[in-house]
C-alpha cells in the first residue's frame, strides 16, 4: 500500500456514495433491503476512509495534487492533515451507519429513502472536502456537504420548525460559502481553472498584499465559522442538529463541524502562514466566546439533543481556543508549545468525535425506545435499558473531562499549553493568557454540570412519564460499544494519539515540534514539568475500589435490604414529580445568567399530566440583536424595490425615457 493508493481508496469510498443514492431510488427494494444495503455500504465507505486516513496519518510525507479532467480540474491530494480528518470521518461514519441500521429498523421504505438519498452524498462530500486539493474541487464538495445535510435535516420531520431550521441552516451555510469563495478567489488570483492547487497557492502567497492576507483570514474565519457554529453565526446549530435523525445528528455534530476546523487549518494555517499574534488572539477570543455561549445554553436545555448540540458548540469553541493559542505560540516562536496546543486541539476534536457521536447515538436509541428526548418525560432508563445507560455513562464521564478517560487527556494538554507559556510573553498576552485560561477552566466546570444534568435526568431516578422503554438493538449497541471502547482506549493511551499527530504537527509547524513519547504517558516537555500516566491512574483507582469493596464485604458483608426511599419521611409516598425538572435543575444558572439569555420560567399544559409543567423559555440574544434587524432591513429594501413595479405603463415608459436621456447626457 502506498500513499497514492491510499488516496485512490479514499476516492473509491467517495465514489460509493452516489452508487448508494442511485440504489435508494430503485423502487423494487423494500425497507429491509434498503436499510441493510444502504447503511452497510456506508459503513464500508467509512471503514475504507478510516484505513486510508490512518495510513496517511502514520505515513510521513504527502503526495502532490493529482488532477482529473481537462478543462475543469478536479484535484485531490492526501497528507497527514487530510489523513487525520479522514480518520475522524471514518470513525464517526462507520459507527453512525452501523447504528442507523438498528435505528431505522421500524421506518417505512418511503421515509427511509428520504434519508438514504442524501446520506451517502453527504458522507462522500465530506470525504471529498478532506481530499480536495483545488479551490473548485473544495468549494463543490463544501457546498454539496451543506446541501445534502440540509435534506437530511428535513428527512426526519417536515414540520414548520424543521423547515425553518433547514432554511436557516442552508442560508447561513451558503452565505458562509460565499465568504469562503471570496477568500479562495483572493488567494487563487487568476483563473482557478488553470489548475491553481493548494500547493501552488501556498507557494505563491508571498506575493499577496498585506490587506489581501488580512481579508482572506477574515473571510475564511467567517466562512468556516458559519459551519463551526461560531458565535454569532451559531444560530442554526441548535435548531438543525436536533431536527435531524440521531445518526445524522451524530455525523453532523461530530464529523461535519470538524470539517470547518479542517478548513481553518488548511487555509489559514497550512496554505497561509500569516505571522503576528493578532489572528491567534482573535481565534482565541471567538473560541472562548463560542465555548462560553454554548456551554451556558447547554446547561439550560431540557431537550437532550439540544443540550448535546449546544455542547458541540462548546467543544468546537475549545478547539478554536487551542488552535488560537497555537497560532500565538507560533507567532512568538515557541514551536514546541505551539505543537502542544495544536495537539491538544486535534486531540480534543478526536475525543469530541468519539463521545459526542456516542451521546447522539445514545439519545437516538432513547428516542427510538421512549419516543422522546425531552427530559421532562424521561428518567429511570438505567433499569429499562441498562447497557445503553452504561455506555452513555462512559461517554458522559468522558465529555465531563474526568480522568482517566479521553476527554480529560485533551483538556489536560490544553491547560498545560496555557501553563507552560513562558513568562517572556509580550504585553498583551500577559493579560490574555491568564484570563483565557480562567475562562477555559470555567467552561470545563460548567460543561460537566450540563453533562451530568443531561445524563442524570434522563437515565437515573424515576420515569417522569409512563413509557415502555426497551433496550437498544444489537446494531446500535455494537456501534455505541465501539465508541465507548474508543473513549477508554484513547484515555489510557494518550501518548499514542500525540505520537500519531506528530506528522500533522510537522506539516503545520514546518518542524519536529512534538517529541515522541511512550503511548502510556503524556509528558509534554519533561517529566519534571508535568506528566500524566492514565494507566497507573486507572490501575490505582480500580485497585483501591476493589480492595475497599472486598475488605468491607469480607468484614461487614451483610445482604442489602431494598426499602422505599426514606426521603426525609416521605417514604413510599414520594412520586416521580418530586424529582427536579430539567428547568428546576439548572435554575441557579437560569438566575445567574438571566441577563444573557433573558430566559423565564413558563408553564405549559401537558395532556397526560394533571398539573401544567414548568419549562424554560429563553431567547438567543443574537437572534434579536442581529438577525431580526437584518431581516427587517432586507424586507424593507425589497418593499422599496417593488415600488418600481407599480402597474402604470406610462411610468414604465418614463423609466426607459429617463434612462435613455441620462445615458445620452452622460456621453455628451
Amino acid at each position: 500500500m502506498t500513499l497514492p493508493s491510499a488516496l485512490a481508496w479514499g476516492l473509491i469510498a467517495a465514489a460509493l456514495g452516489p452508487v448508494v443514492t442511485i440504489l435508494a431510488f430503485v423502487p423494487a427494494l423494500d425497507a429491509k433491503a434498503l436499510r441493510l444495503g444502504g447503511f452497510l455500504t456506508s459503513t464500508i465507505m467509512a471503514v475504507i476512509s478510516l484505513g486510508a486516513g490512518l495510513y496517511a496519518l502514520l505515513q510521513p510525507g504527502s503526495i502532490p495534487a493529482t488532477t482529473f479532467g481537462t478543462h475543469i480540474p478536479w484535484q485531490f491530494h492526501l497528507d497527514p492533515l487530510s489523513g487525520f480528518f479522514l480518520l475522524l470521518l471514518g470513525v464517526v461514519g462507520s459507527t453512525a451507519s452501523l447504528h442507523a441500521i438498528g435505528y431505522f429498523r421500524a421506518t417505512q421504505s418511503g421515509e427511509l429513502r428520504r434519508v438514504l438519498i442524501p446520506y451517502p452524498i453527504f458522507f462522500s462530500a465530506m470525504i471529498l472536502v478532506v481530499l480536495a486539493a483545488g479551490v473548485y474541487t473544495f468549494m463543490v464538495a463544501w457546498e454539496l456537504m451543506a446541501l445534502s445535510s440540509t435534506f437530511l435535516i428535513l428527512s426526519a420531520s417536515r414540520a414548520m420548525a424543521a423547515r425553518r431550521a433547514a432554511y436557516l441552516y442552508l442560508l447561513i451555510a451558503h452565505l458562509g460559502a460565499l465568504c469562503l469563495l471570496g477568500a479562495f478567489i483572493l488567494l487563487a488570483r487568476g483563473n482557478p481553472l488553470s489548475g491553481g492547487s493548494f500547493a501552488v497557492m501556498a507557494a505563491a502567497q508571498q506575493s499577496l498584499s498585506p490587506w489581501a492576507t488580512q481579508a482572506i483570514l477574515g473571510l475564511s474565519l467567517l466562512g468556516f465559522g458559519a459551519k463551526l457554529g461560531m458565535v454569532p453565526l451559531h444560530i442554526w446549530l441548535p435548531e438543525a442538529h436536533p431536527a435531524a435523525p440521531s445518526p445524522v445528528s451524530a455525523l453532523m455534530s461530530a464529523a461535519m463541524l470538524p470539517m470547518a476546523i479542517y478548513g481553518l487549518l488548511r487555509l489559514d494555517w497550512q496554505i497561509l502562514s500569516a505571522p503576528g499574534i493578532g489572528w491567534g488572539v482573535i481565534w482565541l477570543a471567538f473560541g472562548l466566546l463560542t465555548a462560553g455561549f454554548g456551554v451556558l445554553f447547554s446547561t439550560l436545555q431540557s431537550d437532550l439533543k439540544r443540550l448535546l448540540a449546544y455542547s458541540s458548540m462548546e467543544n468546537m469553541g475549545l478547539v478554536l481556543v487551542a488552535l488560537g493559542l497555537g497560532r500565538i505560540f507560533v507567532a512568538e516562536g515557541w514551536l514546541s508549545l505551539a505543537g502542544l496546543a495544536l495537539c491538544a486541539g486535534l486531540f480534543q476534536l478526536l475525543n469530541h468525535a468519539l463521545f459526542k457521536s456516542l451521546l447522539f447515538l445514545g439519545s437516538g436509541s432513547v428516542l427510538h425506545s421512549t419516543g422522546s428526548v425531552d427530559m421532562n418525560r424521561l428518567g429511570g432508563l438505567i433499569r429499562s435499558m441498562p447497557q445503553t445507560t452504561l455506555l452513555m455513562l462512559i461517554a458522559t464521564l468522558a465529555i465531563a473531562g474526568l480522568p482517566p478517560l479521553n476527554g480529560f487527556a485533551s483538556e489536560w494538554l490544553l491547560l498545560q499549553a496555557f501553563l507552560l507559556a513562558p513568562q517572556a510573553a509580550s504585553g498583551s498576552l500577559q493579560i490574555v493568557l491568564p484570563l483565557a485560561a480562567a475562562g477555559v477552566v470555567f467552561v470545563l466546570a460548567l460543561s460537566s454540570f450540563a453533562m451530568v444534568k443531561g445524563f442524570g435526568l434522563s437515565f437515573l431516578g424515576r420515569p417522569r412519564s409512563n413509557f415502555h422503554a426497551h433496550e437498544a438493538s444489537l446494531w446500535e449497541r455494537t456501534a455505541m460499544g465501539c465508541l465507548a471502547l474508543g473513549c477508554v482506549v484513547l484515555g489510557i493511551l494518550p501518548g499514542m494519539v500525540t505520537n500519531g499527530l506528530m506528522a500533522v504537527g510537522r506539516l503545520l509547524l514546518r518542524s519536529d515540534a512534538l517529541t515522541l513519547q511512550s503511548p502510556w504517558a503524556l509528558t509534554p516537555i519533561s517529566a519534571q514539568r508535568a506528566s500524566y500516566l492514565p494507566g497507573t491512574f486507572l490501575v490505582g483507582i480500580t485497585l483501591a475500589v476493589i480492595l475497599t469493596f472486598l475488605l468491607v464485604w469480607w468484614r461487614f458483608g451483610r445482604p442489602l435490604r431494598r426499602v422505599p426511599a426514606w426521603a426525609c419521611g416521605f417514604a413510599g409516598s414520594a412520586t416521580s414529580r418530586m424529582q427536579d425538572s430539567p428547568a428546576g435543575f439548572s435554575q441557579p444558572w437560569l438566575r445567574i445568567f438571566a441577563p444573557i439569555h433573558s430566559g423565564r420560567l413558563q408553564t405549559r399544559e401537558i395532556p397526560e399530566k394533571r398539573a401544567p409543567e414548568w419549562f424554560v423559555h429563553f431567547q438567543d440574544p443574537f437572534w434579536h440583536g442581529l438577525y431580526l434587524p437584518i431581516q427587517k432591513t432586507a424586507l424593507l429594501l425589497s418593499k422599496q424595490s417593488l415600488r418600481l413595479q407599480q402597474g402604470k405603463i406610462t411610468i414604465y415608459l418614463l423609466y426607459a425615457f429617463i434612462t435613455l436621456i441620462v445615458l445620452l447626457a452622460v456621453i455628451q
Binding site: H71, I72, Y136, I185, G190, L644, I649, L660, L664
Partner: protein, 483 residues
C-alpha cells in the same frame, strides 16, 4: 447549403402549423419540426467543425462560433419545449376548451417565434437582426395574450408597448450605426453587415457609435430584461403559458443579449476605451441587485422565477461587461446553463401550477410528498438555477466572481450580496413547495412531459463536471469573436 435549409425548414414550419396545428396532430407536428431543427443544427455544427465560419447569400447569413452555440442551445431548448408542450398544451386545451383556431395560433406563433429567433442568430445583417427580433416580439405578444383574460391582455399590452418602444430605440441605434458606417463602407448592404463592420470598426465615427450604442443598449436591454427597463418581464412570464415563459426566459433574452454583444464588439473597437463594458457592467449589477431584492417578497411562483431570470441575465451581462477570455467564457457558460435550467424550472413549476390551478406559493405545497416525480423535478431544477454544485451555473458564477475581483474588486461584494439574497428568496419559497403541509386540491396529471426536465438538467450537470469536447473549445473561442 445547410444554413438556407435550416432557415427554410423553420419558416416552412409556420404555415404548416397554421394549417394543421391543432389537436394531437398539431402537437406531433410541432415536435417533429423541432426534431428536424435539432438534427439540422447538429449537421450545422458538423459542418462548422470542418469548415469553420459559414456564410450564405453573399454573407447575409453567417454562422460563427457565438451564433453556433446559441443556435444549438435554441434547437435543444426548442425541442424540449415542444416535447413538454405536448402534454402541457393538451391540458391547457382541455382546461380552457380552446378551439381549433386557438390551437393553430399557438403552434404557429410558437414556430414563428422560434423561426425569427433563428433568423436573428443566422443573419449577419444587423438590420435583419432587428427585423427578426421585432418579429419574435410580435409572435410572443400573441402567445402571451393567448388566454384572452384581462390579466394576459394587460401583460401582453405592456409587453408589446414597452418592447415596441425598446425596439424602436434599437432601430434608431441601428440607423445611427449605418450612418456612422456609411463614410467608411459606403452606402448599401455592406454597411450593415456585422462581419464587414467588425473589420472596419476602428474607423467608425466615435460619437455616432457612442449614441448608437446607448440606443441599442436601452432598446435591446428592454427586451433583455435589464433593470430598470424590465417591468414587462414578470407580467409577461406570469400571464403566458409556462411553455412560453420557458421560451421567453430560455431563448428570447439570450437572443437580445446576443444582439447587444454584436454591437458591443463594434462599439469597443470604435470607441477604444471600455465605455460599453462599463455600461454593461453597470446595468448588469443594477438588474442583479434589483431583481434579487424584488424576489424576497414574492408570492407568485412564476413571477419569482421571472425575476430570477432578470437576475441571471444581469449576472451574464455583467460577465460580458467584464470581458476577457475567462469572463466571456463564464458568461456564455452561464447563458447556456441558465437557459437549460430556467426552462426546466418553468416546465416543472408550470406543471405544478396546472395541477394546483394556482400560481400562489401559498397554494403550491408539499409536492415532494404528493407527487414525488414532480417534486424531484422541481427540486433539482431549482437547485440548478440556484447555482448549486456540481451544476454548471456554480462554475460560471464562480468564474465571474473570480474575474470581478480581479478587474473590479469593488463590485464583488455587491455580486455576493445579490446572489445571497436571490438564494435566500428562492430557497425560502422552495421548502414549502416541496415539504409544506396543506395547500389546495391537486389534480394528478400525467408526468411523461417531465422527461425534458431531467434531460436538460443532466446536461447542466455534465457541463458542471466536464464540458464535452466541441463545446469547450467553442466557448473558449467566443472571447475571440467578441474582441
Amino acid at each position: 447549403m445547410i444554413l438556407v435549409g435550416l432557415l427554410a425548414w423553420v419558416v416552412l414550419g409556420i404555415p404548416v402549423l397554421a394549417l394543421w396545428g391543432d389537436g394531437k396532430r398539431g402537437r406531433r407536428l410541432f415536435i417533429l419540426i423541432q426534431v428536424g431543427v435539432f438534427l439540422l443544427a447538429v449537421a450545422l455544427a458538423e459542418r462548422y467543425l470542418d469548415l469553420g465560419t459559414l456564410t450564405a447569400f453573399g454573407a447575409e447569413l453567417r454562422v460563427d462560433v457565438l451564433s453556433l452555440i446559441l443556435i444549438l442551445l435554441n434547437s435543444v431548448v426548442g425541442l424540449m419545449t415542444a416535447w413538454f408542450s405536448a402534454s402541457y398544451w393538451h391540458t391547457e386545451v382541455q382546461r380552457h376548451d380552446f378551439g381549433v383556431a386557438r390551437q393553430r395560433l399557438y403552434h404557429a406563433m410558437f414556430q414563428s417565434f422560434l423561426a425569427t429567433m433563428l433568423l436573428a442568430l443566422l443573419s449577419n445583417n444587423l438590420g435583419i437582426l432587428w427585423v427578426a427580433l421585432e418579429g419574435a416580439t410580435l409572435s410572443t405578444v400573441l402567445l402571451v395574450s393567448l388566454q384572452r383574460s384581462g390579466e394576459s391582455l394587460e401583460a401582453a399590452w405592456k409587453y408589446f408597448i414597452l418592447c415596441g418602444v425598446g425596439l424602436a430605440m434599437a432601430l434608431f441605434g441601428t440607423v445611427l450605426l449605418y450612418f456612422a458606417a456609411q463614410p467608411v463602407l459606403g452606402s448599401g448592404a455592406q454597411a450593415l453587415l456585422w462581419s464587414s463592420l467588425h473589420q472596419q470598426a476602428w474607423r467608425l465615427n466615435g460619437t455616432a457609435m457612442a449614441i448608437a450604442f446607448v440606443f441599442i443598449l436601452v432598446g435591446y436591454g428592454t427586451k433583455m430584461g435589464l433593470a430598470p427597463l424590465n417591468n414587462w418581464l414578470p407580467d409577461a412570464h406570469a400571464a403566458g403559458p409556462s411553455t412560453v415563459s420557458a421560451a421567453l426566459s430560455g431563448l428570447l433574452l439570450n437572443v437580445a443579449l446576443y444582439a447587444v454583444l454584436r454591437f458591443k464588439s463594434l462599439a469597443d473597437a470604435a470607441l477604444g476605451g471600455d465605455f460599453a463594458a462599463h455600461l454593461l457592467m453597470g446595468f448588469g449589477l443594477l438588474s442583479l441587485l434589483l431583481a434579487s431584492l424584488s424576489m424576497l417578497r414574492q408570492h407568485d411562483v412564476k413571477r419569482l422565477f421571472a425575476y430570477s431570470s432578470a437576475e441571471h441575465m444581469g449576472l451574464t451581462t455583467f460577465a460580458f461587461g467584464l470581458g476577457g477570455p475567462v469572463a466571456t467564457f463564464a458568461g456564455i457558460l452561464h447563458l447556456v446553463g441558465h437557459s437549460l435550467a430556467k426552462s426546466s424550472v418553468f416546465f416543472s413549476v408550470g406543471r405544478a401550477t396546472q395541477e394546483a390551478r394556482s400560481r400562489e406559493l401559498a397554494d403550491l405545497r408539499g409536492f415532494l410528498n404528493r407527487r414525488p416525480v414532480l417534486g424531484w423535478s422541481i427540486l433539482l431544477s431549482v437547485l440548478a438555477i440556484l447555482g448549486m454544485p456540481p451544476g454548471s451555473l456554480f462554475l460560471s458564477e464562480f468564474l465571474i466572481l473570480t474575474v470581478s475581483l480581479e478587474k473590479a474588486w469593488i463590485t464583488t461584494p455587491l455580486l455576493l450580496l445579490g446572489l445571497g439574497m436571490a438564494f435566500a428568496a428562492i430557497f425560502r419559497a422552495l421548502l414549502p413547495l416541496l415539504y409544506g403541509e396543506g395547500g389546495g386540491p391537486c389534480s394528478a396529471l400525467p408526468l411523461r412531459g417531465l422527461t425534458p426536465v431531467f434531460l436538460q438538467l443532466s446536461l447542466v450537470l455534465l457541463m458542471g463536471i466536464a464540458i464535452p469536447y466541441p463545446l469547450d473549445p467553442w466557448m473558449q473561442a467566443v472571447a475571440g469573436v467578441l474582441s
